[in-house]
C-alpha cells in the first residue's frame, strides 16, 4: 500500500519534476488502496443486509441458499483482494525497484496466476499460485529493506517503519493465502498465527516508528 513521502508539491516549496511525479504516483496508490478497501467494506455491508433479508423472508435459506451466497461473495471478493495485493506489490517495494519493473512483474504474476487457473480449471488454484508468488516476492522485499538495499532514501520515514510496512503487507498476503489454500492443511493454525504476528507486529512497527504528527489540518 502507499507510503508517505515528505514531498510538499501542493505548497510549491521544494518540488522537482521527478519528486512531484513520485508524490502523485504514491498518492494514486493510496487512493487505489482506500478505494479497494472501501469496496470490500461496501460488499460486506451489502452481504449483511442481503443475508438479513434472506433469513427473514426465505424459509430454510441457510440450507437452500447459503452455499450460493458464499460463492457469489467469494466471486466478488476474490478480484478485490487480488487488486489489493497488486497495489501492495506496486507500492511497498517502490523505493527498491523502478516503476516499470514493478508493473512488468505485477502483470507477469497476474498472467501466471490466470494461466494456472485456466489450465487447472480452478480459480482458487490460480489465486493460490498468485498469492504464493506474491508472498515469495514480499519476503524478498522485506529482506532487501532490512539489508538497506537499493539505495533507499526516505526523508522522514525510518527503515523500521518501512520494514514494518513490508511485514504487515506480507501478513496480509499470508492471511489471504491461508484462507484460499491452507484451510484444510495441518499448517492452518501455524499459518494463521504467522499472519497474525506479521500483521500486528508490522502494523505496530509501522505506526510507532514514525511520528504521529502530520502538521495542522485546515484550521479556521
Amino acid at each position: 500500500m502507499a507510503e508517505k513521502t515528505e514531498h510538499t508539491s501542493e505548497t510549491g516549496s521544494s518540488g522537482t519534476g521527478s519528486r512531484s511525479r513520485r508524490a502523485g504516483w504514491d498518492f494514486s496508490l493510496m487512493v487505489a488502496t482506500v478505494g479497494l478497501l472501501g469496496a470490500l467494506g461496501l460488499q460486506s455491508l451489502v452481504g449483511t443486509l442481503f443475508s438479513w433479508w434472506a433469513y427473514r423472508t426465505v424459509p430454510g435459506w441457510e440450507q437452500t441458499g447459503y452455499a450460493g451466497f458464499i460463492d457469489v461473495m467469494n466471486l466478488i471478493a476474490g478480484p478485490l483482494v487480488v487488486a489489493l495485493i497488486v497495489v501492495m506489490g506496486l507500492c511497498v517495494p517502490k523505493r527498491l525497484f523502478s516503476r516499470r519493473t514493478l508493473l512488468v512483474v505485477s502483470a507477469g504474476m497476474l498472467v501466471l496466476g490466470a494461466g494456472v487457473g485456466v489450465v487447472r480449471g480452478s480459480f482458487l488454484t490460480g489465486l493460490g499460485v498468485y498469492l504464493g508468488v506474491s508472498a515469495f516476492i514480499q519476503v524478498a522485499v522485506v529482506v532487501l529493506t532490512i539489508a538497506d538495499a537499493g539505495g533507499l532514501e526516505y526523508v522522514t520515514e525510518g527503515r523500521l517503519a518501512k520494514v514494518g510496512s513490508g511485514l504487515l503487507h506480507l501478513g496480509f498476503i499470508v492471511f489471504a493465502l491461508t484462507i484460499v489454500a491452507l484451510q484444510s492443511s495441518s499448517m492452518m493454525m501455524l499459518a494463521f498465527m504467522t499472519a497474525g504476528v506479521l500483521l500486528t507486529g508490522g502494523s505496530a512497527m509501522s505506526f510507532y516508528a514514525r511520528s504521529s504528527s502530520r502538521g495542522p489540518v485546515d484550521e479556521r
Binding site: 502507499a2 478497501l37 470490500l40 460486506s44 449483511t48 438479513w52 502530520r214
Partner: protein, 322 residues
C-alpha cells in the same frame, strides 16, 4: 463427583446470592450514572466529573468482582460426566465477558478510559463519560448480568442435568455430547480467553478515538486529530490480532456450519477495512482538504463498529444470538 441434585441446589443458591448482590449493585450503578450525567450537564458540577466517574468505575468494579465470584462457583459446580463411563470429563471455566456480560465489560472499560484520559482530558472526558453511562445503563437495564446471568449457558446446562437425571441413557448421552462440545469448543476454548478481550480493548480505544474525532470536526484543531489517531492505532493492533486468531477457531469449531460471510463476520470485515483505510489515508493528512476525508473515514469506521456489535443481536448466523 458431585450429584445432579447437589449441583442444582448449589447453583440455585449461587444465582440467588448473585441476584441479591445485583439488586444493590444495579441501584448503585444507576445512581452513579445519574451523578456522572449531572456532572456533565450542569456546569457548576463539572469539576466533580472525575469524582463521579470514579464512583461509577468503583460500582462497576465491585459488580465485576461479584461476577468473578459467580464464575468461580460455576467452575466448582458445573461438572460434565460421561454417562457411558461415569467419569467426570471436566468443569465449565467460563470467561467473564460472554453472553449477558459483554456490554458490562465494555461499560467498565470505557468508564476507566474516561477516568484516566489525560491528553485533552478535560474536553474528552464529558464525551467519554456519556458513552460510559449509556453502556452501563444498557448493561444493567437490558443485559442484566446479575439477575439473568448467562442465559444460553444455563439453558443448555439445565437440559443436560435434566437428561442426566431422567434415566434414559440415550437422552443422557445426547445431552452429554452437546454439553461437552460446548464446553470444549466454546466456553473453555483458549480462543474465548483471547479473542473477546482483545476486541473489547480495541472497541474501548476506538470509542476514545471517536470522541477525539468529534472534537476535531467541531473545533478544527490538529491536536485532536493526533489524539484520535493515537487511540485508533492502539485499538487497531488488538482488533487485527483478535480477528486473525478467531479464524482458525471458527474453521475448527464451526466446521460444516454456515459461518463464512455470515452477518457478524461481514460486519467485522467491514469495520477492519474501514479502520485500515482511515489509518492509511492519514499518511497524506497534509494534503489540502485531506483531513475531511480522514474525518469521514474515522466516523464511518466507528459507525461500522457499532453496527458490528448490533449485528450480533439482529442478523442470524453462526456468530450471532439473533
Amino acid at each position: 463427583m458431585l450429584t445432579a441434585d447437589f449441583i442444582i441446589l448449589s447453583l440455585d443458591s449461587a444465582r440467588q446470592t448473585l441476584a441479591a448482590l445485583g439488586q444493590v449493585l444495579n441501584v448503585a450503578i444507576l445512581v452513579a450514572c445519574v451523578a456522572v450525567l449531572a456532572a456533565v450537564v450542569v456546569p457548576r458540577l463539572r469539576p466533580r466529573l472525575r469524582m463521579t466517574l470514579a464512583g461509577l468505575v468503583g460500582a462497576l468494579t465491585v459488580g465485576e468482582l461479584a461476577l468473578l465470584w459467580f464464575h468461580v462457583r460455576l467452575w466448582q459446580l458445573c461438572q460434565v460426566t460421561d454417562p457411558s463411563t461415569g467419569l467426570v470429563t471436566g468443569s465449565f471455566a467460563i470467561p467473564i465477558w460472554i453472553e449477558s456480560e459483554k456490554l458490562y465489560v465494555w461499560a467498565l472499560l470505557v468508564a476507566v478510559l474516561a477516568l484516566v484520559a489525560r491528553r485533552h482530558g478535560d474536553e474528552m472526558r464529558p464525551i467519554l463519560a456519556v458513552g460510559a453511562v449509556a453502556l452501563a445503563a444498557g448493561a444493567v437495564l437490558v443485559s442484566q448480568p446479575f439477575t439473568a446471568p448467562l442465559p444460553d449457558f444455563f439453558a443448555q446446562y439445565s437440559s443436560y442435568l435434566t437428561a442426566s437425571r431422567s434415566g434414559d441413557i440415550n437422552m443422557a448421552y445426547n445431552a452429554f455430547r452437546s454439553a461437552e462440545s460446548s464446553r470444549l469448543y466454546f466456553y473453555n476454548a483458549w480462543y474465548m480467553w483471547v479473542h473477546p478481550p482483545l476486541l473489547f480493548f480495541s472497541y474501548g480505544a476506538f470509542v476514545v478515538s471517536f470522541a477525539a474525532t468529534l472534537l476535531m470536526v467541531f473545533r478544527r484543531r490538529s491536536s485532536y486529530e493526533q489524539t484520535a489517531y493515537r487511540w485508533a492505532r492502539l485499538g487497531y493492533l488488538p482488533l487485527t490480532l483478535g480477528m486473525v486468531v478467531g479464524m482458525p477457531w471458527a474453521i475448527i469449531a464451526w466446521s460444516g456450519d454456515a459461518w463464512w460471510w455470515s452477518g457478524k463476520v461481514n460486519m467485522s470485515i467491514m469495520m477492519w477495512v474501514l479502520y485500515t483505510a482511515y489509518l492509511h489515508s492519514r499518511i497524506y493528512l497534509r494534503r489540502r482538504g485531506m483531513w475531511k476525508v480522514v474525518a469521514v473515514l474515522a466516523v464511518l469506521s466507528f459507525v461500522a463498529l457499532v453496527l458490528t456489535y448490533i449485528t450480533t443481536y439482529v442478523v442470524p448466523g453462526a456468530h450471532s444470538v439473533a
